[in-house]
């Protein structure tokens, strides 16, 4: 048997094997009678009280540490010498020669680049929120998703456990580039999921454009921008261009496009997407075209997994962009 035959035999193995007996009665008994739930209620109660006290303390507005990296940034009207505290409601402003590092509670940090103005809006253990009026920040957060938010004039960047750079002007025109993990950008009902190695253009009122990978071909990106921001009359041609130029690596763009085109065009987009990255078992064409959330989520998980593998293994190993499997 050679490598290829082994690979084919492995691919034929069943994904599911039913247990030889019904395990539910044993599982049910174990989750109903958990000794620790009876015996350890005292320390658990003490722990719960401690957590409540900590939450109570954290709900009070607190402050974040700020360190000047270059020049002398302003907090409110005070020049920052070396370090200081940013309190809820305070504005931190850098000029063209100053930069600052803001500790995001205990979960991460934000580097505030020159010519930037940010405000601390919420500083709680369960919500960390900045407002970016204009300028550029580089955020790095190590926490569970949806603890760190950055509001811009065009919408809100929601951290899903990641690192990213976000730039905006005072009207809301900007760009979000993700370098680790994933970020969601939301404006009203429109949102975009941006994984590492991808970026979005952001515009006032319309919000996040369709994400694309940072090595996407320029004509593909131009067609996406036309679709997102040009008059409706030009969109049909832009969609055709996007579909024609899309590579398997651009599946994340088509996944978003599917949800933004007119209903009559969804089939066209889905078929192209399915050609580039086959949908996982259980995802149906009908469900995806109807924008059925479980179908879309399942498909996204597959696209995201493949994309992540490609990014992580970039330069190390060739990966089939349709499946995420290493090419042997």
């Amino acid at each position: 048997m050679n490598e290829q035959e082994l690979h084919e035999a492995v691919s034929r193995l069943p994904k599911s094997i039913e247990p030889p007996r019904d395990l539910w009665p044993d599982i049910s008994a174990r989750i109903k009678v958990r000794p620790w739930r009876r015996w350890y209620w005292v320390p658990l109660a003490a722990a719960a009280v401690f957590v409540l006290v900590m939450i109570g303390r954290s709900i009070k507005p607190t402050a974040w540490d700020v360190t000047a990296l270059a020049g002398r940034p302003l907090i409110g009207t005070h020049r920052l010498a070396a370090s200081g505290r940013l309190r809820v409601g305070d504005w931190l402003q850098t000029d063209d020669s100053s930069r600052a590092l803001v500790a995001v509670g205990r979960i991460g940090q934000v580097e505030v680049q020159p010519d930037t103005r940010v405000q601390l809006v919420v500083a709680r253990a369960d919500e960390h929120r900045l407002a970016l009026a204009h300028g550029t920040i580089a955020a790095k957060v190590d926490a569970v998703p949806r603890l760190f938010f950055v509001e811009t004039p065009a919408g809100t960047a929601i951290d899903l456990g990641c690192a990213y750079t976000l730039a905006t002007d005072s009207l809301g025109k900007g760009v979000l580039h993700v370098t680790a993990g994933e970020v969601e950008f939301q404006t009203g009902l429109r949102s975009a999921r941006v994984p590492l190695g991808a970026l979005i253009q952001i515009r006032p009122t319309t919000g996040p454009g369709i994400p694309y990978v940072d090595d996407a071909p320029a004509p593909f990106v131009r067609a996406l921008m036309t679709f997102d921001y040009e008059p409706r009359g030009t969109r049909a041609r832009a969609i055709r261009t996007v579909l024609a130029l899309a590579r398997p690596q651009d599946a994340l763009s088509l996944w978003h496009l599917l949800q933004r085109v007119d209903p009559s065009l969804r089939g066209l987009v889905y078929d192209r997407l399915a050609t580039l990255v086959p949908p996982p078992p259980g995802v149906t064409r009908l469900g995806a075209i109807a924008l059925h959330l479980p179908d879309l989520d399942e498909y996204w998980t597959t696209i995201q997994r493949i994309h992540f593998r490609m990014m992580v293994l970039r330069g190390v190993r060739d990966v089939d962009p349709r499946t995420g499997k290493a090419v042997h």
Binding site: M1, A9, K15, L23, W24, D297, E298, K325
Partner: protein, 174 residues
Amino acid sequence: MPPPDDLVARAQAGDQTAFRDLYRQHAGRVYALCLRLTGDARDADERTQDVFVRLWDKLRSFRGDSAFSSWLHRLAVNVVLNERRTTGRRERRVTLAEDPAVLEKNPGTSLEGLSIDLERAIADLPNGAREVFVLYDIEGYGHGEIAELVGIAEGTSKAQLFRARRLLREKLER
């Protein structure tokens, strides 16, 4: 049966009937993973139970950022690997041949003989090689992820995979 997302939400709220339905939906996938990672039907039985007991404890932390099935899959991998790390009692290599009915009872596995031979050959692999082979070639994890999950270097993961494939080819050629 209600849609999976509804089941998850109800189980998160403490509904054991919904949790039982979740078990019914996912038991086969979880058991297959446990069986292949442990190479032993009795261990797979225990680990599958452990996974669902752990799921019951952890369910509230599922926030829907990924598909539930993917999240559960990762949880199952962690449960099996953690168990091996903590007990270190995987040295006995009881193969699937001990209970061949496990595979033959399942319609999905009553394939041509090759699949069953392959399953047995996988179960017969040394522990480290089997884990890497199952995670990489069957479950689609990358070497970086495997290194993190198993607690080995990436290079070791690659070496174990090479070794597993060679051993499998040799066994299946006999």
